[in-house]
Symmetry: C2
Subunit: 456 residues, 2 copies
């Protein structure tokens, strides 16, 4: 967005800051804007992305501004410089710092040079995730960079609960994400290369003045979980997994996954697995509501998967025991979902565990559960993804089998007959409501029949 | 590109390194790979772009590898670790470091942990342009980061002269760039928003498995030189300036500019200015050949512009004097061109002045000439841009007039009648040949008649 284009009112930003200062109580909170990230030389840079907490509390979408919130005085000071007349020749007129501050509800403005007057012993700041942040803190005199946990927790508590206005923006981001997925499913044809499908998605994003919320996964090898290679050619019998999301100008994100054939149908085993994933998804939707631990939803979903995998001969034995010992993790290696908001993994920069867990539940270190980003009890106002998946990973199957793992629950002989079944995931975004949940955005169906009907 | 996909042979990389070590003579040259750049949290990153010198001398297109060239021994050591079995589950099989080293013609491999054994007093490195580079050098124990000028000069000397194989890649990059421009010109229609035109360009890039070589300028306000706002709607009488380039998987770049009407024609004054810019361009092409200072070409072009601007009443007086005093800079504020290669401003990270100037010619500090990136004597094998432009910048005109600047040469009264004429630039990419020059890529015409014929 243009740096003078604020999605919320000045009052909203001021209220958010007031709440944060009240919660943190003491010290001065320093909010650091992101810089342009250089590509191959200083002045050639990637698209600009402001820090999400800066967007949330300040709303100014440009680099070289910093905010200090004095918790004791309850005031906010914006540090920034206006552009020079010389710069205007090159960049055109830019909004004045004063104008930006007004739109953020900030009354105090100081030039950047005054940053050196800050008392670094009083400063509280969030964790750094870019090298530039570390250099900036060092330039202020901070010797050992150590984010402040009370500040982190206060921010998480506040940003985890989405306001009505935020939900409106998330509805929009997710709705556009669904439209993008529809275009990709409809556009996929045997003979195309994966990057040409990414191109369809990217053109849709650009046409709507949006960006990707993360580098999409678009692959005929969905079993490779973090695949960012786009060079494979789609064949008649290829199955495509597309995990991609739209990011609005305001920073709010969508995140969806669909799995579909390049041609007109899936193989028999893929159809069976798809339907198991879909039943798992529906179980997750059924169970996700306030007061329920998301880890319990994850484990209930795992049981539906085991039942399904038993029905096709991939697994055997007692379902509860299988899930208790983690046998399902051979097929479902990741977590059921995560928080979504201004970041696609919302606030992951503040610490995945602090966002997704709390004092009542700690993150497991076991394979499978250690990849569950969100375990805590759901609350009204949370926005989460629900994304079960089943993946036939030959390397992992060979490893588990050679280690004689889960022999009681896995029919390796049957599984080894279907090593090219691939990976299937279904992912949508949900708001936790007072009584249960609501799918965000204008929905795109996800049952196999509906998906196949898009391909006719 | 995939990290195991090298555009040159192992012998080529080895030869390039040998030449560099011979030139630098002493010490150990450290080549640092680029990391992934984080967007809003650590694991969410922009597209990967390797450092261009790393691509040139090593060719490995991935992070977390470092090369040390021992100038005295003439050997190269690659520092890197193979991915773990655990990682393969998430990312799929990755090429082994040994395989990557072989493709780069490197025999010695050491794990990353051995980097700490390096003798930092012996190390020579290139200038840093990302905060991560500074943190990496600090982690090695370097206290004051100071790049080594003998190394910089040796790299510039080598990379400034493009080999036949590099020229082939540049021909391809520029050819695709021309096709992209044609699509944008043909696609532009009144009623569209600027970002929808960027979308056409971006889809073309993705469809060809390429990226942009820099964030494109696509604007109906071409007089704002570094405009990256894409939110304006094209009107029937809008004039569009598009400055954009394709970057191949191998890293080689194109860079072109076209100016054209959103509708079917330009206004009278825009037509006049377009033709002046086109004559200036043709003068530059005529003069650019080995042995000629590019600054002299720039100044000769400025004279053609002054002649043209005199013919439409914008300027007056003696042409040579006008250029000598810099009166033309009211209309032509930037430089005629720059080097092009693995970077769109080739090697700008090594220092613009060291790339574009040498001991025989130093860069001017005067308005206009201070923006000329390339001033040195042209040589066979240079690849350059030729990009004259005329810009009616109301703020600059008001400033110069209020300062009573160039009253002898500028008819402010006439100019002030055309403050909305906008900005026009024509840019193409040329190889300096033994006797003169050759335009790179399959050309896209740039005279106004041909441009208008694309709009019918």
């Amino acid at each position: 967005m243009s740096s003078s284009n604020f999605p919320f009112s000045a009052e909203t930003y001021a209220n958010r800051r007031r709440q944060l200062m009240t919660e943190v109580k003491s010290g001065q909170i320093l909010l650091i804007s992101n810089n342009y990230s250089s590509i191959n030389f200083k002045d050639n840079h990637f698209r600009y992305r402001q820090d999400s907490s800066f967007l949330y509390y300040i709303g100014i979408n440009q680099p070289e501004v910093f905010a200090v919130l004095d918790c004791e005085k309850g005031t906010t000071t914006l540090y920034g410089d206006d552009v020079s007349m010389d710069m205007i020749i090159w960049t055109g007129n830019q909004p004045a710092i004063k104008e930006l501050a007004a739109k953020s509800g900030i009354e105090n403005i100081l030039p950047l040079s005054n940053l050196s007057d800050l008392n670094i012993d009083q400063l509280k700041y969030l964790p750094t995730y870019r090298a530039e942040h570390e250099l900036f803190l060092s330039s202020l005199g901070v010797k050992v960079i150590q984010a402040h946990k009370d500040l982190i927790l206060a921010v998480i508590q506040q940003r985890n609960i989405k306001s009505a206005q935020e939900i409106e923006l998330l509805d929009k981001a997710v709705g556009l994400t669904a439209q993008m997925h529809k275009k990709v499913i409809e556009g996929a044809k045997p003979g195309m290369t994966e990057y040409q499908l990414v191109s369809i998605a990217n053109a849709f994003a650009w046409d709507n003045n949006c960006a990707f919320s993360f580098p999409p996964i678009l692959t005929i090898n969905g079993q490779t979980l973090h695949n960012h290679y786009y060079g494979n050619v789609l064949k008649e019998d290829s199955m495509v997994l597309f995990d991609g999301g739209i990011e609005l100008e305001s920073g709010y994100c969508g995140d969806m996954t669909r799995t579909f054939p390049a041609g007109k149908k899936l193989t028999g085993i893929q159809t069976d697995i798809y339907n198991i994933v879909h039943r798992s998804y529906e179980k997750a939707v059924e169970l996700s509501k306030p007061g329920v631990y998301y880890r319990d939803v994850h484990l209930a979903v795992a049981k539906v998967m085991v039942e399904g995998l038993k029905s096709i001969g991939f697994m055997k034995g007692d379902t509860d025991e299988a899930v208790a010992t983690g046998a399902h993790t051979l097929f479902f290696q990741h977590g059921l979902g995560h928080m979504l908001g201004l970041d696609v993994h919302d606030m992951e920069n503040l610490g995945e565990v602090l966002v997704g867990y709390d004092e009542s539940i700690s993150k497991s270190k076991e394979f499978g559960l250690k990849s569950l980003r969100l375990g805590r009890k759901l609350k009204e106002g949370y926005v989460i993804t629900i994304e079960p998946g089943i993946y036939i990973i030959p390397e992992l199957i060979a490893k588990f089998e050679s280690e004689k793992k889960h022999l009681e629950f896995v029919n390796y002989e049957t599984v080894n007959k279907h090593l090219n079944a691939g990976g299937i995931r279904i992912e949508d975004d949900y708001l936790i409501t007072m009584e249960s949940n609501r799918r965000l955005g204008e929905p795109l169906t996800n049952d196999l029949e509906s998906i196949l009907s898009l391909k006719s």
